[in-house]
């Protein structure tokens, strides 16, 4: 990405003061490099070593300009940078074994969040009788959580011998993870994510005569956002009121998610494979127990320490690499003049 042709196209970008300064420094450095290069073969040894010293230090500066200073000036602050996150996990292919893997992934995220001092709350978990969780939803409300975790969205695949498998045969199962941007009520309103009259609120199940006649807890609520067809059901809280609040929170997050994806597509960022991984049916990562290996297919990164990833420590390496990859791809797009 740092070829002179690419850098040249920086000129297309709007000039800002700090940017121009950095650009001028960059041009200057290149000139110095050109001048010094001739002296690298100078017959005089002292001259040669001085030139080589100068050349190396200027080259270092160029490196820094290209990898840190310019990108930082060019990449606009993330529009989602202050948002919290909702993490949704759903068992996929593989039945009960997939539900067991939901438990493992959930623990991975919980450990990771605890280690990095992020508070989380479990909004809902749907346990199955044999042990295992069919689906789970957790809230990480701290600003920045969404940008940190967003690239976890996609299909996570596990290859291992299930506890229940007597023959010792390796099974492949999947879990879908979706990370949604958490918006507050006010943000949802100011972003005009939805109109109240477009949301149908239903209570689930019949209650017979209701009122004093019934004291069974019937708190389940379902919201339908008619224009988008998004439905959200919430039943983990003990009151209607709480479930309704939660359901609106999830609906707002879903709508915000659609908006983020739309905005990204508008910016044609979809060329990037990471961003196009927004297609949530794509398999993004494989956890291979026999080989103690975790591979992220989008960036081709493998870590040979599966236990450390599942204990939350290793996950940070993936998150950092994914974040870096994203920034680089943003840079590339800018350089292509988009």
């Amino acid at each position: 990405m740092s070829t002179p042709e690419d850098i040249a196209s920086l000129r297309i970008l709007k000039e800002t003061e700090p940017l121009r300064e950095a650009w001028e420094r960059y041009t200057k450095c290149n000139e110095t490099l050109d001048d010094t290069r001739a002296l690298l073969d100078d017959p005089d040894e002292t001259m040669r070593s001085m030139a080589s010293e100068e050349y190396n230090s200027v080259q270092e500066e160029v490196e820094e300009l290209v990898t840190d200073t310019l990108p930082a000036l060019l990449i606009p602050p993330s529009p989602t940078g202050n948002l919290g996150a909702l993490i949704e996990l759903k068992a996929g292919v593989g039945g009960a074994e997939s539900c067991l893997f939901v438990v493992d992934l959930l623990r991975m995220y919980q450990r990771f969040l605890e280690n990095s001092d992020y508070k989380y709350t479990m909004v809902s978990t749907n346990e199955i009788e044999q042990g295992g969780i069919r689906d789970a939803l957790m809230e990480v409300s701290a600003p920045g959580a969404y940008d940190l975790l967003r690239w976890e969205s996609g299909v996570h695949r596990v290859q291992r011998v299930p506890h229940t498998e007597a023959s010792g045969r390796v099974h492949t199962s999947t879990v879908a993870v979706i990370v949604l941007p958490l918006v507050t009520e006010q943000e949802a309103q100011s972003q005009q994510l939805y109109r109240m009259e477009d949301v149908r609120i239903e209570v689930m199940r019949a209650r017979g005569a209701g009122g004093q006649h019934v004291n069974k807890t019937e708190s389940a609520v379902r919201l339908t956002h008619v224009p988008s067809g998004i439905t959200v059901s919430m039943q983990d809280e003990r009151s209607q009121h709480q479930n309704r609040r939660r359901a609106f929170q999830v609906l707002q997050a879903r709508l915000m998610d659609q908006k983020v994806v739309r905005d990204m597509a508008d910016k044609r960022a979809a060329k990037n494979n990471l961003v196009s991984g927004v297609d949530r049916s794509d398999k993004i990562r494989t956890y291979n127990y026999a080989q103690e290996r975790v591979t992220d297919h989008r960036i081709g990164l493998s870590l040979m320490n599966l236990s450390s990833v599942l204990e939350g420590d290793g996950l940070g390496n993936f998150l950092t690499a994914l974040q870096k990859n994203y920034r680089e791809s943003l840079m590339e797009q800018m350089l292509q003049g988009n």
């Binding site: 978990t125 346990e127 005569a209 009122g211 004093q212 006649h213 019934v214 069974k216 003990r238 009151s239």
Partner: protein, 278 residues
Amino acid sequence: MPLLRRLTSLLGPSQAARELQWIKKHALQARLSVEDLVDRRMRDEPLQYILGTQPFGPLDIRVRAPVLIPRPETEHWTIKLSEAVSPTPAKPFRLLDIGTGTGCIPLLLCHLWPKGSVSACGVDVSDDALTLSRENAKAHGFERGPVDLELRNTFQAVRANILDPAFTTSVDPPYDVVTSNPPYIPFHEYLDLPRSVSRFEDPKALFGGPMDGLDFYPAIVKVLTQDGFMNRNGIVALEIGHQQGEDVHKILKQTGKFKEISIWNDPWGKQRTVFAKM
């Protein structure tokens, strides 16, 4: 038998899974045995009594047998009422809640309305209810102090019998708002109540009279249409049973003292609240 399977036989699979989660969480916090709590549930004890609380709007209301457990229908109309009319510290409301039980209705209004805009009185004939509603007021910071210096909403519990002709002397009119969820279950329906209701909740909180369960409404309406009982533009909100809308509407209308009478549905589509303006 595993706990989930036992509960499933009583409640069906999805309700059982949810209740077990709530029970487990409570057992952990209160250091009780999950098995014991499930045993109680299997004997039809309401979940709310086992857990000791019921969320009501954003409030956690303490519940204890035999005081009636707050219902979601009541939660729904109370929130709606809080939006339909709103007092201000400059124009505060005096509120009377008849048959206050846990105190849930006035306490939620105290919570939802601006600070210093309501002083509420809840009356009941049951000592259990009076004690519990005072506990709830205290838990949420609405108990009336000897002198209230800061701006806040307050709740007071008073023993009074709405069917007693001398009722008015036990309370302190005039009021701006009267709310009530009086007992409204008629005798023939009383016999068909689920056991968790009829065996655990106070019959005096449920039984509204032998014929149509409407004994309380004429008594309430008689009191609040007495001269000087309500302030100008008084508001009344009365919860009703699933088939009592027309009858209660008529009881109010006959007095000729209400400018506007409407019936609100609950979230399940049943007529649930008669709302009237004087």
